[in-house]
Subunit: 222 residues, 2 copies
């Protein structure tokens, strides 16, 4: 049995949650208040970040990509990182797109300012950052649309970690009601397909105390 | 034959340069002025970022981690990402440590402010960011020291991508003369071992026009 140390609106934790669920690997969620920098948690991951995946036998994995690559090896089916080297390169390119580019351009600006800032009482959100996040999310929706005009799923003809990673990132922004789906039909169709998967259901019932999700967050007809 | 589109002080490009050299994979360097956003380059990588590795047959890889994972599969020896799943998880954890944590805490603050800012004529460097970079690099030197008290190389008993990634990041800061090696003996010993490898030599002859390296940058006795 695995325990996943996580935070609700961390796209990196959500990526691991979706990945484990698609692999049908059982795990328990454990909310980790990373800002407390608990000694026991730092012993698991000196970076002090979630996600961390801990096995009942004591084995510990840290960093979302290190975790999913490990699970892909241990539980090969269904294959989610690609079936050959070229496919894996394309999946990993898109994972990096969302984990780094989307995260810096959108997530940090919106979740960072609206949620983390508030949880840590770091003062008023920066309205310039929020405007930048709102502008940038449109470019990423367009890129998803561009890919969906050419492919069945983001990285090719099968669902992969690229879709799960992208959906994990979009879902955090969607919790805040900040994804303009109506203006991006192809991206919306893609997200609706991910959203209807059993692996996605637990994410849709996330409810952060004191911070209700946007009204369409859990809606299949959004 | 491969062509690597790069920037001189990008730790991500240096990571790929070191990796290819350790694998004895031949490649040509091509300096890409990413801020020009050339259409031909965006066609290779719509993220508009270096590194991009292009094969003479037209195959294109983008994102440093996607590139090295691909090459590790195509050229298995010497193994640089670990020989089993647990070892690979530890290598990838440390790669993420430097590619994300060191990059945000040190590289963005120092290379970002001192070099990128200047190249793009974006105004005066932010002295608060530079101070933060100087402070943070010490924590990372301590972490390298902590690992070196326990292991032969960063991830275990063999040189891996973890060492190459860490060295790539430190080398960019070292070019600026901003690594306080003298106060961190164990980290210095580790860096001296990497610095003396043939794979590292090309990096030591890097010389950015108009921005000479710090005096000890290429020195074996630093």
């Amino acid at each position: 049995m695995w325990t996943l140390y996580h935070q609700w609106l961390s796209p990196f934790c959500r990526k691991v949650r979706l990945f484990l669920a698609e692999k049908k690997v059982d795990f328990e969620l454990r909310l980790e208040p990373v800002w407390d920098r608990r000694a026991e948690f730092l012993a698991l991951n000196p970076a002090g970040e979630v996600p961390v995946l801990e096995n009942i036998d004591g084995a510990t994995l840290a960093d979302s990509q290190a975790i999913v690559e490990f699970i892909e090896e241990e539980v090969p089916e269904p294959s989610l990182i690609g079936r050959d080297a070229a496919e894996r390169a394309e999946v990993r390119r898109l994972v990096a797109w969302f984990d780094r580019k989307f995260n810096a351009e959108v997530t940090d600006n919106l979740v960072g300012e609206k949620v983390v800032n508030r949880l840590l009482r770091m003062g008023t959100p920066d309205s310039r950052a929020i405007r930048a996040g709102h502008l940038n999310v449109r470019h990423h929706l367009e890129y998803v649309g561009f890919l969906m005009e050419r492919r069945t799923w983001l990285a090719g003809d099968r669902l992969t970690l690229a879709d799960l990673t992208a959906a994990a990132h979009f879902s955090c922004i969607d919790y805040l009601g900040d994804v303009p789906w109506e203006a991006h039909e192809e991206a919306k169709t893609w997200y609706a397909r991910i959203k209807s998967r059993p692996s996605f259901r637990p994410l849709l019932s996330d409810h952060i105390p004191g911070m209700a999700p946007a009204s369409n967050y859990a809606d299949m007809d959004f």
